[in-house]
Subunit: 154 residues, 4 copies
């Protein structure tokens, strides 16, 4: 791809949706990523959700966008920390995701999030994305958070 085409790929301004996107309310990224999530199972230290891959979360290859997967790791990690009774989910320190196979539109996936550790100050959650139909792993991520004590700063 020549540099002019890369520029067009990156700069989305002036597209059909410019006005719609620019007028979106604060924190709209969360419903955009999470809408359609259903909890299948919830307990202390574990949250299992289902999601049917919606068209809006596809990438140009028509599989679940890697950025959406990472955002789901972020959100699922916070949900698990909430189940431990923490008054806050703290601040993110690190997120990583391995992408293992593609998930297609309409495919039902399971998002299984487990606390690996919830200490006084550091919590780590692992998140597995699996195809419900094939049982194949789609992605695996980990989310590390710092849980600040009331009066301290990270």
């Amino acid at each position: 791809m020549d540099l002019e085409s890369v520029k067009k790929f990156v700069e989305k301004d002036g597209g059909d949706y410019e006005f719609t996107v620019d007028s979106m309310p604060a924190r709209f990224i969360e419903p955009i990523v999470m809408q359609g999530l259903k909890i299948d199972r919830i307990e202390r230290g574990r949250v299992v959700c289902s999601l049917t891959v919606p068209p809006r979360l596809l990438n140009t290859g028509n599989t679940l966008h890697g950025g959406a997967t990472a955002a789901l790791v972020d959100i699922a990690g916070s949900a698990v920390i909430y189940t431990m009774g923490a008054p806050t989910t703290g601040v993110s320190v690190e997120i990583n995701v391995s992408y293992l196979s593609g998930a297609y539109v309409g495919e039902e996936i399971e998002i299984d999030s487990k606390a690996l550790r919830v200490g006084k100050s550091v919590a780590v959650v692992s998140v597995d994305f699996t195809s419900k139909k094939t049982g194949k792993l789609i992605a695996q991520g980990r989310h590390t958070k710092y849980l600040p004590v009331a009066t301290s700063k990270m």
Copy 2:
């Protein structure tokens, strides 16, 4: 937080925006994350962008959402690979992000993406997010992609 509250945090259905979100077109996640990105500098193996943090990409703590940051690492990594003349950006293998400080609404940030390696089959890009005003690092990520040869499968 009790489990019923966590459930409400995760399941967004029935909210004010349910219809709006459910009717979004395919691949809408990209303009939502990318709208407003401007290229400051582009060359072979390097893309430097600016973004003024928009309200829609905030988290509940009112700083740039960690999932949005990760999605930007995903997208910036692909843009850099395009600048190397690769006909495709391949498929994501791994993304990681360290979160270093918060970025607030209206803050202008620089997103500096560099190819660490673009080989025949594996490419790795690093992405630095910096506050233009303070020069402080906001986040650092890496994006690893597999560049499939025409006839092969990952």
Copy 3:
């Protein structure tokens, strides 16, 4: 710590063991890390080992050295890929490790390594370190490798 002390911490030359270390044979790092590993279970895509934490692998805090843990993730990942019948374990693309709790000298730990994906070109293995006595997770890592086709370069 003042900079002169940091310099002394980093530069080990002139210590008691300088001659011993400098005369070590090629590839000695592997037996140093692996000596004492026992296989508890091995099958296609899975290798479970035991290790009693030896004094030589401790850090200055007297728990299993984070570098040794990372080296074990490296080695365990390769072993799992061998079980899949691959003629080579390929080259490492990425290793990550989350450290969850300390392992002490004489403690018996289980190292459970599972293939998350072994494709034609990319393999990903997860590795869990658990205390046999307490069942507590000590660390969790992932190892991504590229499996080159006979005639290609990464």
Copy 4:
């Protein structure tokens, strides 16, 4: 490789070096990895070292062992935190490494470690490994540590 061969690859006991390795003193892993490191430059928040790749740190492919690289990321990260005047380097939370090209025996490499953030409780250091001769990146890692306050537990 058949499973019996994988078992032999993993279980090093009974080898020529068994006695030597088993009688190594406590914390010997550090001089084994660090012997030969020279500091080229040291300042608050930055440590640049040189290392000539020694035979003992090679892998079976005769390049610098990925486990040794990860151990160096661990150690370099701690050294940088020491330069900030922290009384302790804390405990490791996460280490990650991307492997970009091989380093051969006798090759002189530069290990450049920079503090990305040293806060009250969380520190993050990036580490670049570069070939001095070719200028090529060999690896890039990040090391996240938790710096416990005197009276608190992670």
